[in-house]
Subunit: 236 residues, 2 copies
DNA sequence: GACTTGCATTTTGGCGCCAATTTTTCTAGG
DNA sequence: CCTAGAAAAATTGGCGCCAAAATGCAAGTC
């Protein structure tokens, strides 16, 4: 390959990236749709890119695999996961179950003045990204909004689960987004924040469910699965 | 140490345990309260016990750490996790959010005749273990009941999350169980199955929430945290 | 006699090498 | 010209060795 120079160029000069840093970097790349689903994540390749040894990479990949963000095939390597249509429905189903509860816990927490200003700032950033047509920022911040809500709900466990669901949702959008509409619906995040500011928990949860339904409906989940070719049964 | 013979005795003669097998074995030991919270999980110790190389162990421990079942201290080793009181409350809070939804999804699935027989069999096994006063089996099967429900709900993602929550619950019971009452409440699992059999989703979810509340109330979560000695702030 | 300091042992962390499997390419045949 | 087979290259998986850090012990000192 003749792009050895490019690898060298991307390796940090004398910054030894920590293990968590590599983890976050790969996750961020997936979040921003810089790594397409199905992309092979070769060990040597990644080691060269980050300027670390292969052993370091071999610690990070299983971690990502455990969150179903990468798929680990024995003796073949790691690939960015390709959630099936069934997986996608499961993710949205789980989110419809979790996120209304997260919103409820957030309002029950009381004293959400400082949280509201942070949420408003985030929504404003989203609006700016949308105005600039910065697709990567739009998708990333859209996921971050939901992660922010979860972190504010005061339950670190739920926040961790929400992080994982947000990552998977990013992959799903990358795979099944209809080219027609920009996947991020206008001001629905802002509407949720407004309901929270009004202390109307019921409306906030209802808006959250509707929002999730809208996002899912804007995906093309009707496509037949990439032919689950079951040779054994097909040739019986 | 003079117990080198005991290690050898426990090592499988000529059965090379797979990586998943080791994972499951350690998890099972935690489930059955054979490994107390805080126990150190030395690498070559485990390697000797399972008769595998240290490298194999070094792949399993991070996996368990990712589920918060073991705590990984840099340069110190792996320990069975010791969830704090706050962690415990978070776990039960998350379960109160998830499990009613799981029950709902189960009934909406329809055709639960075969599932009901399996659930009834499980409840019967639990009853038998309770009659035999087999504490380990009681705790293990109590967690397995909830995992079974989640797997039947038709959402593999929710099932995975429930598995993790069940593991953590086992640790929490091991840490905070009041010696007074056996932590597993009589026939509450059976009552939930009865409600499912009657097709009464509302009652089933209500019973589930009550059940979780009962389990939590039977724990001693009032103990003051082991003094989160924050030296920096204490000596300012 | 108790505390501190220094050293030895044990354990984890990391790096490099070698074997196994897969994928690609080259060659021979139809 | 295309297909099937085999050899070669590349990549993953695993094992062992070596360095770094932490713990426990022992000796020295006040």
């Amino acid at each position: 390959m003749g792009d050895a120079s490019k690898k060298k160029a991307k390796a940090r000069r004398r910054a030894p990236p920590s293990e968590d840093a590599i983890y976050e970097r790969i996750l961020a790349a997936i979040f921003e749709h810089r790594l397409a689903p199905g992309t092979k994540l070769g060990e040597d390749r990644l080691a060269g890119i980050f300027g670390v040894s292969r052993a370091r990479i071999r610690h990070v990949l299983p971690r990502l695999a455990h969150e179903s963000v990468v798929r680990l095939e024995p003796n073949r390597g790691a690939f960015v996961a390709q959630p099936t249509v069934a997986d996608a429905r499961n993710v949205f189903d789980a989110r419809r179950l979790l996120e209304p509860g997260i919103v409820e816990r957030l309002v029950q927490r009381g004293e959400l003045r400082p949280m509201l200003v942070q949420l408003r700032q985030h929504v404003a950033s989203e609006r700016r990204a949308r105005a600039a047509n910065d697709t990567r920022a739009i998708v990333r911040m859209s996921g971050e909004f939901h992660m922010l809500l979860a972190e504010m709900a005061g339950n670190a466990l739920l926040a961790k689960i929400m992080r994982e669901l947000a990552s998977l949702t990013c992959l799903i959008i990358a795979l099944y987004d209809k080219p027609s509409v920009p996947s991020c619906l206008g001001e629905e995040h802002g509407d949720i924040v407004d309901a929270l500011a009004a202390g109307d928990a019921a409306r906030a949860t209802k808006l959250m469910v509707h929002h999730l339904n809208h996002v899912e409906k804007n995906l093309d989940l009707s496509v037949a699965e990439p032919a689950p070719v079951d040779l054994e049964s097909a040739l019986a």
